[in-house]
Subunit: 130 residues, 2 copies
Amino acid sequence: MSMSGTGQHDPPGCRAREVLDLVADKWSLYVVAFLGDGPRRFTELKRGIDGVSQRMLTVTLRGLERDGILTRTVYEVMPPHISYQLTAMGTTLLQATAPLIEWSSRHLDSIDAARTAYDARASRPRTIAD
Amino acid sequence: MSMSGTGQHDPPGCRAREVLDLVADKWSLYVVAFLGDGPRRFTELKRGIDGVSQRMLTVTLRGLERDGILTRTVYEVMPPHISYQLTAMGTTLLQATAPLIEWSSRHLDSIDAARTAYDARASRPRTIAD
DNA sequence: CTGAATCCACCGGGATACTG
DNA sequence: CAGTATCCCGGTGGATTCAG
């Protein structure tokens, strides 16, 4: 990977951070994952993504649309019908996140254990065993 | 991946979010990537990771240590010498992020283009072509 | 050298109310 | 149905200072 292997981090031109920011916000990956199954409309996403406010769903969708991750298609009917779906790039993003999601499901327990152990150590006065 | 394929997002038990949060913060992935080349001490990380404040480096290192991603080894000498290095789990995390980093380097230009196009459209009054 | 502590500005994001 | 507008709170993270 581009961020390692030289002992130096990449020069200022390393912009991987921007992509991280792209998916790091609270809801983007949920939306992308959800759209992985096909086009969805606003209310379907709202219902399907637990806990998202309609404001944040709007903001998230706008951001992903702007970045070319998904498209927004308006059907001029009554009542309004708007469909969101992944672009080709959005689909590749979804695939690129798969290993990380996979990793998470495999290591969440280990992380929990590590945290518990760490917190136990931190909250108890030190002994010579430390 | 566990978040897609059923047309339903995972139940509340889906905790992939926690891992995203793990790596989503501003500096964690930089630290992990940097330690991918081997153990480093505080000042080396501080110098190597452009823009990180000493506070955020400390906070980030503590968090990653707590989660079992890296270890902190203290050498009782003068001046103090403290070494940080990835755990086995940290190494697998680094590998899991590789596709995302790879994706980013391949699509940053496309994203820029999409943003530019989107912003141009948004800032200009609509025509019948829209 | 490797932090901890404190102060503070910024903004992500939730609640709520209103609109085409 | 699919938003927009406004208010406001809490957390993130930078700057600075102090300490072992």
